[in-house]
Assembly symmetry: C2
Homo-oligomer: 112 residues x 2
C-alpha cells in the first residue's frame, strides 16, 4: 500500500489551501473535520448537505485536502481516519482558516 | 462592446473568491489592487514579481477576479481601470480578505 503524502508545514502554500477549499464539497468536508472533536472516517461523508457523494469522488476530495496540508489521514484497518491540521496552518497563516470557516458558516446559514 | 459582468454583492460566493485567489498571479494582482490608493490599469501588471505575464493571460486573470466579485473594472478609452471591491466583500465575509492578504504577504516575505 502506498504511503500517504502529507506536506511539511513549511511546504503548505496559500494557493494550495485556497484551491482545496474552493470546492463546495471539500469546504463542507473540511469544516466538519475541523469542527469535530475526534478523527472522522471518510465514510462519515457519504452525504454532504443533501447531496450523496460517490465514493470515488470522496477519495479524490480527501486526497486534495491532504495534499494541500489541510488534513492528516491515517489508515486504520480498512478505514481512513482524518484529522484537521488547523494548528499547523494557524501557525503558518494566522487567522486564515478561522476566517474561511466563518465565511463558510455565514454562507451556509444564508442559503439554508 | 460587451458590457462587463459584475456579480451583485449577495451573489459573491466563498468558493468563487477562494478559486480566484488560488492562482499565484491572481492573488498577487489582487493584492496590488487592494493595496493601491487609486484604480490600477491592467497594463500596470505586465510583470508580476519577476514574471512577465502575456496580455492574453492578464485579461483572463482580470476576468476571473471580476466575475468572482473581487474587482470592479471600468473601461476608460482604451484602458481598463480596476478597483477592489474589498468593502463589499468585507460586509459579506468579515475578515476573509484581510486574512488572505496577510497570508499572501507572509508567504511572499518568506520566499523573498
Amino acid at each position: 500500500m502506498r504511503p500517504l503524502f502529507h506536506p511539511a508545514p513549511e511546504d503548505i502554500s496559500l494557493e494550495g489551501v485556497l484551491h482545496a477549499l474552493s470546492d463546495p464539497v471539500r469546504v463542507a468536508i473540511f469544516s466538519d473535520i475541523a469542527g469535530a472533536d475526534c478523527a472522522q472516517t471518510c465514510s462519515a461523508f457519504a452525504t454532504v448537505g443533501d447531496r450523496e457523494i460517490p465514493k470515488s469522488s470522496l477519495s479524490q476530495h480527501f486526497k486534495v485536502l491532504r495534499e494541500a496540508g489541510l488534513i492528516r489521514s491515517e489508515r486504520q484497518g480498512v478505514e481512513m481516519r482524518n484529522l484537521s491540521r488547523c494548528a499547523e496552518i494557524e501557525a503558518r497563516f494566522p487567522g486564515l482558516l478561522p476566517a474561511i470557516m466563518n465565511a463558510h458558516a455565514a454562507q451556509a446559514a444564508a442559503r439554508a
